[in-house]
Each structure stands twice: as structure tokens, then as C-alpha cells.
């Protein structure tokens, strides 16, 4: 039983996270070890294992990036712990430019505004890659799936930038 089946959801990148969360809580209510405080050792251990599996599944399906990776792994493309790099020169060039832009923000004339603009720009990229992933994954042929995998790799770069931008924002706003 894969995680989509466990949560009785369609094998799809697009999902209703409220529905996912509601189902997650229902499943935990059924198997959480606290329901088995008076049960035998064997049943308690089984409950711990099942509860852990449900937690893992929820974590996997919860965020778009891990959901995308999981869908690809079900389709036979394993991205976790891989060392493959991106060979798209256009993308790499753009990454360098974005990094430079991020570095320049703190010395700019209006860093507070610039960091917000920068974050919006990154968000647009992220949404773009996610949308492309939906289409490529739906196509389903091997070449589309390979491109979808590249998309996920690019998405990871963007998410890393988003994290760094957020850290900079915190520093700028004096948290």
C-alpha cells in the first residue's frame, strides 16, 4: 500500500491539503499507540509501527517538493540522496544572477522592499516549476518524467534560495 492509497487519495501532485490533514488525523486516531496503552506488547509495537508509517506518509505528501519526489519514486525515478547535477546552462546562469541579487540586497538603498520583491520573484519561479511538473507528470511518458525530475531538481535550488531569502529577511527586520 503506497502513501496515496494509505490516505485514500488520487495519485496526483495536486491535492487538497486540508483533506490530507483531516485524513491523517483520522488515521492517527485509529492507530496511535495511546489507544493501545492497555494492549499486549505485540499490539503496542504494531501500533507504534503503523503510527510511524502514517506520520512518514503525511510528511511525504504534505509539502509539494516531497510529494513530487514521492510520485517520481513510485514511477521508478529515485531522487533522494542522488548526486546528479543540473546541466541546463540557462538555469544555472539564472541561479547565479539570483544569488548575486540576494547578496546585494543588504547593501541596497531600500533592503526591506527589495527582499520582499525578491521573495515574490522566487515564489513565481516555484509556482512555475510546480505547474510544469503537473503537466509533465500527467503526460507520463519516460521523457516527460525525466524532464519532471529535472524540474524537481530545479525546484530544490529555488527552495534553497527561498530559505536563504527568509533568513536574510529575519536579519533585516531585526528578529
Amino acid at each position: 500500500m503506497n502513501y496515496f492509497e494509505l490516505f485514500a487519495l488520487n495519485h496526483s501532485f495536486v491535492l487538497d491539503t486540508n483533506e490530507l490533514r483531516a485524513k491523517y488525523l483520522e488515521l492517527q486516531r485509529a492507530v496511535h499507540p495511546d489507544k493501545f496503552a492497555n494492549a499486549s506488547e505485540q499490539d503496542r509495537l504494531l501500533a507504534v509501527q503503523q503510527s510511524a508509517r502514517i506520520n512518514d506518509g503525511f510528511g511525504m505528501l504534505k509539502t509539494p517538493i516531497s510529494r513530487a519526489e514521492y510520485l517520481l519514486s513510485l514511477a521508478g525515478i529515485e531522487l533522494a540522496h542522488e548526486y546528479q547535477t543540473i546541466k541546463d546552462p540557462m538555469f544555472l546562469m539564472e541561479q547565479m544572477e539570483l544569488r548575486e541579487a540576494l547578496e546585494d540586497i543588504s547593501t541596497s538603498s531600500d533592503p526591506e522592499q527589495e527582499i520582499i520583491d525578491f521573495q515574490q520573484q522566487i515564489d513565481r519561479h516555484i509556482r512555475g516549476f510546480e505547474q510544469q511538473f503537473v503537466d509533465l507528470f500527467a503526460a507520463g511518458d519516460q521523457s516527460s518524467l525525466n524532464t519532471a525530475a529535472d524540474n524537481v531538481r530545479k525546484l530544490k535550488f529555488m527552495l534553497k534560495l527561498a530559505t536563504e531569502a527568509r533568513e536574510l529577511e529575519e536579519r533585516l527586520l531585526g528578529f
Partner: protein, 621 residues
């Protein structure tokens, strides 16, 4: 719907029987016990009408005293009077010497380096001392509730690591008490608070106790208590506030002579009283009798006090900030801030916490009682007294778990703030031809270097089938249960050989030490030991038997009659073994039951998972 509806009528041998359970707040400074009676969680009072006892143990000439009676010896017999032992739990002698400059004890180390205290009645470890503190609380619960306890919930700081949690559990088990659950203190407070007010939304629990600090961010929704993030410091609390005042007093008094154990204690007590009076006054007068015969008089103002403790308060706020970030929320998302622990009475703490969260923190529930109340509510539910309860606690791992890799670095296997229970597998391979063993070093903490993390255990995987280098694939599974306790199993994948694991807990107790401790404990003489083990095994046997009886009743459809027969046979064997008094045959019968019912148990679990989601319209979840 659930696999075992324990309290459903007709399933248990004694339906609707009220099971006795209690919640215990084993605190650094004070400890208390609470229980749900007539639907209300209340703190249990002893014959003097007192609920909370000081967490102090005095090892006297003739007897061991706990609580107020022990406190009376804190100055006069400081070396044999253990206070704040919670700070020693799961810690090594080195840890303690590094963090405490002056302690009035004669300290030593156990086989594994764990700190031990030399008292006049012998060497004791923090688990034994904690067990002494638990004893009168358990006795109080037994006498108030009039019967043996089915189990207890004991609270621990959310930021306690594996060794500290295991030590706490061992302390209760030393008394022969079943621990339903170790519950994180802030989560316990959230239960007491949330159920009282039927709250929904995100709350922060700021818990500054005598020796530990926790911050937890929880989402409360329809009986679900979901911890989003937790943070803190398991060695930061009121004791540290006392220490900075004590240092200030010594500096002010100009005394530079020896610090006898009695003088150390006296200064600490003076500091503590000064702190307490500054919670309501602007300044306080101090008098210290110095060994040189002179008395020192001084005055401590609130302003000076505030500046002394400012660094401590700041450290707690840094932890708050990190927890808010880990929870992926903004402070403005937080509906309420709940204050827990005696140290939140300090005005500066309240002010700064209010400033950080931009709201007035809640102090409506007594910060000293709220944790025990929450634990009692949880214990009542776990005992099965509230079958209709829809409470669900989803807590998190407070500190990342990792493995030592090449070059003294750690590699994270499970990150902090992951919801528990959690299981993660990691694969390893051999690097030499014919290699049959492998060593793993498990660490807990956030830092990159092994030396900056806490060593939890060293494992040796043995019995790997000899193969060419790199051919063996060993899958090691790390599992953390709902108590936050780690267990590890390993399997060689290509051959399916279950690798045996030799656990060498770095800071836990060796089997020998555990055995000796039980032997030493005054309550259990040798014959008692046997009787106790037999009694415990019989309880487990009846759990297994009752579980199977009810399982066969509800889910007979999951078994063919051929599959059912061996289960019934094993149950008959268990019933007859349980009636006798041979420990081994009861154990064997339980093992047999487990074995023949294993498939059945998994099928039932799968069924309950399917049923959980069937017929549920998402709109009304």
C-alpha cells in the same frame, strides 16, 4: 473501529471497571501527583493537606526521608541531602562538573561515566534518588484512590533527551509501577488548559521550571493536541537564577574563605528567598552568617536583580524564536501564551515573554499545578476510563538523532521536531571482504561535530553473513516511540538475516547495574523480586488473553477456521500457564500467542486503517 476497543462492554473481563491511574509531575524543585476523580482532575493531598512535596531526599543514619522532612537537613547535612536531582538525570560526572562549579556532594561515576552521589548509606545514582521521590507520591495515589495503580503518566521536560527520558522511566519501574506514558510537560499543560477552555488555534507554552526550560508551540483542534515545534534547554531554570544571585551575594559580601557544603546551601537558600520576595517587592533585605563570625547585611533591588537575570531570560527568548521558526508560523499567529513553572512568577520573565509574543501571557491556571493536572487527564484516558474520548496527542522529537560518520561528523537520521512515533531506515554496507560486524555510534543533538552532540549508544551489528566488500546491505531501522525513546533494529537485506545487535548505552545503565539497583531497592527483597516478576508477567498474560478474546469476538471474519484453531490452542495454553506460577511457562505461552496471532493482528490493524477513512465525508471531519 480501533483495533482493540479495550473498554467496550463484554470485551474486558470486568467491563466498566474504573481503572486507577495517576499523573505525576516529577519536578526539579517540587513534585506532585494528581488523579481524575468523579470526572475532575485534582491534585492529591497528603495527610497534612499538602499537595506538593520538595524534590529532596535525605540519606540519614537510620532512614531515607523525602520532601519537607528531607529539606530540614539541606543545610545541616548537605552532603547527604540531594536536591534538584533532576538536573543529574542521564548526565555524566563530566557534564555535571562542567556545569556546576560548586556542589555540596561527593560525586563519583558509574561504569558508563554516569554521575553518582556518595551518601552515608552508599553510592546512589539519579534514577534511585528519583525513585525515592516517586515513592511517597505513588503511595499517596494508592491510598487516596484505595487500590493498586493500573499505571501512571510521568511528565518530563519536552527538551529531555533519550538518556534523561529513559532514566525517568527506569525510576518508576524500579518501584514496580507501570508507566503508561512519558508526557512532555508543556503538552501536559496544554491539555489542562485546552480541555478546560475548549480552545482552538495555535498556542505557545512557556515553561520555566526549577531546572529546565521548554517552549512548545501547539495547534489545538477538536481534541487534537499537535505539537508543531519544541525547543528549550534541559539545564536552565530557577536554580540558575538562584546561582547568579548567590554569586552576587558572595561578591558583595567580600567573603573569600572556604565554602563548606552548609555555607553553599545556605547561600543558595538565601538567594532563592530573595528571588521569591522580589516577585512582589521592589527590594529585599539580605543577611548571611559568615563562618568568620561576622554577619553580612545587604539589599538587592529589583533593578539589580533584573540586570543579573537578563542573560537567562534572553536565552529563553532565543529558544522561543527558534521554535516559532521551526513551527513555520509568525508570532502573530499565536492565539495564547500559557505560562508554566514557578520561575514564570518572576516579573521580568512575564514582561519579556509578553513583549516577545506581543500579548499578555496567561497565568490563570496555577503554574505549579497545571502539569500534574494535564498528566492526570491523560492517565485517565490511557487507562481506558474514557472510551469516548477523542483526544489525540501528537508530540515531536525534541533533538535530532544522528550517526557518527567519517571524520568525527554526525549525519542526521531523524531531524528535530519530527512528529513521533517515527521510524527511519538507513542502509549501510561492508567495506572489507568477509566483514561480519560493524559498529554504529548514535548521537542526539543539532551540532555537526560528534563531540558537541550527546552520545546515546554504541551498537555493534554482528552476524552479518560473510560476503565481498560492498555486497552486504544492512538496513538499520531507528524507531522512536510515543515516549520519545529510541530503539534500533538491523537486518541484512540480501540474505534476510536479522542481525543481532549488542546495545552499549553510552549514558544508560548496564544490565548489571539495573539488576543491582532492583536488588538494592529496599522494597524488594529477593523473594519479592521473584513474586514481582511473576505478578508482572501475569498482568501481561491477561492483557494478551483479553486482547485476543475481544479480537476474536469482533473480527472473527478475518480468520478461516483453520487459522483460528492454533490461536485458540495457544490461548488455552496461556490460560493454564497463567493459572500456575511458573514464570517461564507464562513467558513461553505469551510468545506462542504472539507468534500465532501475528498475521491476525496485522490484518486487524489494516482493517482499522481502512475503516478509519471509509464513510468519512471530509466536510464533517
Amino acid at each position: 473501529m480501533a483495533l482493540l476497543q479495550i473498554s467496550e462492554p463484554g470485551q474486558s473481563s470486568a467491563p466498566h471497571q474504573h481503572r486507577l491511574a495517576a499523573g505525576i509531575d516529577l519536578g526539579t524543585t517540587n513534585s506532585l501527583v494528581a488523579s481524575v476523580r468523579s470526572g475532575q482532575a485534582t491534585i492529591l493531598l497528603n495527610d497534612q493537606g499538602v499537595g506538593s512535596i520538595p524534590s529532596i531526599v535525605h540519606y540519614g543514619e537510620h532512614e531515607i526521608k523525602v520532601g519537607l522532612e528531607a529539606k530540614a537537613h539541606a543545610v545541616s547535612d548537605a552532603t547527604n541531602t540531594v536536591v534538584s536531582v533532576k538536573r543529574f538525570m542521564g548526565r555524566t560526572l563530566e557534564d555535571i562538573q562542567a556545569s556546576h562549579k560548586e556542589l555540596p556532594y561527593n560525586l563519583s561515576a558509574s561504569e558508563n561515566g554516569l554521575v553518582t552521589i556518595e551518601t552515608r548509606t552508599g553510592v546512589v545514582n539519579p534514577i534511585q534518588v528519583s525513585s525515592e521521590i516517586l515513592k511517597p507520591l505513588v503511595e499517596l495515589a494508592k491510598s487516596t484512590l484505595a487500590g493498586e495503580l493500573d499505571g501512571v503518566v510521568i511528565t518530563v521536560p519536552a527538551y529531555f533527551d533519550d538518556a534523561q527520558r529513559q532514566g525517568t522511566k527506569d525510576a518508576a519501574e524500579l518501584l514496580g509501577v507501570k508507566v503508561f506514558r512519558l508526557l512532555n510537560e508543556p503538552t501536559a499543560a496544554a491539555i489542562a488548559y485546552g480541555l478546560d477552555n475548549d480552545q482552538e488555534g495555535i498556542i505557545a507554552v512557556y515553561d520555566l521550571g526549577g531546572g529546565t526550560f521548554d517552549i512548545s508551540i501547539l495547534r489545538l483542534n477538536k481534541g487534537v493536541f499537535e505539537v508543531l515545534a519544541t525547543g528549550g534547554d534541559s539545564a536552565l531554570g530557577g536554580d540558575d537564577i538562584d546561582q547568579v544571585i548567590a554569586d552576587w551575594i558572595i561578591a558583595q559580601s567580600g567573603y573569600d574563605g572556604d565554602h563548606s557544603p552548609a555555607l553553599q546551601r545556605e547561600i543558595m537558600q538565601l538567594a532563592c528567598r530573595a528571588k521569591e520576595s522580589l516577585s512582589s517587592q521592589d527590594h529585599t533585605e539580605l543577611t548571611l552568617n559568615l563562618p568568620c563570625g561576622n554577619d553580612w547585611h545587604g539589599q538587592l533591588s529589583r533593578d539589580v536583580f533584573d540586570s543579573l537575570i537578563q542573560p537567562i531570560v534572553k536565552r529563553t527568548l532565543m529558544a522561543c524564536r527558534r521554535a516559532v521558526r521551526d513551527a513555520d508560523i509568525n508570532t502573530s499567529d499565536i492565539l495564547k501564551v500559557v505560562m508554566v513553572g514557578g520561575s514564570t512568577r518572576v516579573p521580568l520573565v512575564r514582561d519579556k515573554v509578553g513583549q516577545y509574543f506581543e500579548q499578555q501571557p496567561l497565568t490563570s491556571i496555577d503554574p505549579d499545578k497545571v502539569v500534574a493536572i494535564g498528566a492526570a487527564i491523560q492517565a485517565d484516558i490511557l487507562a481506558g476510563n474514557k472510551p469516548d474520548s477523542d483526544m489525540l496527542l501528537l508530540d515531536v522529537l525534541p533533538l535530532s538523532l544522528g550517526l557518527e560518520t567519517m571524520g568525527g561528523l554526525t549525519e542526521k537520521v531523524i531531524s528535530r521536531n519530527t512528529t513521533i512515533p517515527v521510524a527511519k531506515a538507513q542502509e549501510f554496507t561492508t567495506f572489507k571482504d568477509g566483514q561480519t560486524a560493524m559498529a554504529l555510534h548514535i548521537l542526539q543533538g543539532e551540532r555537526e561535530l560528534v563531540e558537541d552532540c550527546r552520545s546515546l549508544a554504541r551498537f555493534e551489528l554482528r552476524g552479518i553473513p560473510p560476503m565481498a566488500a560492498g555486497a552486504a546491505h544492512i538496513r538499520v531501522t531507528f524507531q522512536v516511540d510515543a515516549d520519545g525513546l529510541l530503539s534500533v533494529s538491523a537486518m541484512e537485506k540480501s540474505s534476510g538475516v536479522q542481525t543481532s545487535i549488542e546495545v552499549k548505552p553510552s549514558f544508560g545503565l548496564t544490565d548489571n547495574e539495573v539488576a543491582n539497583m532492583i536488588k538494592d531497592s529496599m522494597t524488594f527483597a529477593k523473594d519479592d523480586m521473584q513474586a514481582r516478576m511473576l505478578a508482572e508477567e501475569k498482568v501481561e498474560a491477561s492483557r494478551v488473553h483479553e486482547g485476543l478474546v475481544s479480537a476474536l469476538k469482533i473480527d472473527a471474519h478475518l480468520l478461516s477456521s483453520e487459522e483460528r484453531a492454533p490461536i485458540e490452542q495457544a490461548m488455552a495454553q496461556l490460560a493454564s500457564a497463567q493459572a500456575g506460577s511458573d514464570l517461564k511457562s507464562i513467558k513461553d505461552a505469551i510468545a506462542l500467542c504472539d507468534k500465532v496471532s501475528q498475521d491476525f493482528a496485522s490484518r486487524r490493524m489494516d482493517q482499522s486503517i481502512r475503516q478509519a477513512l471509509s464513510g468519512q465525508s471530509v466536510d464533517n471531519i
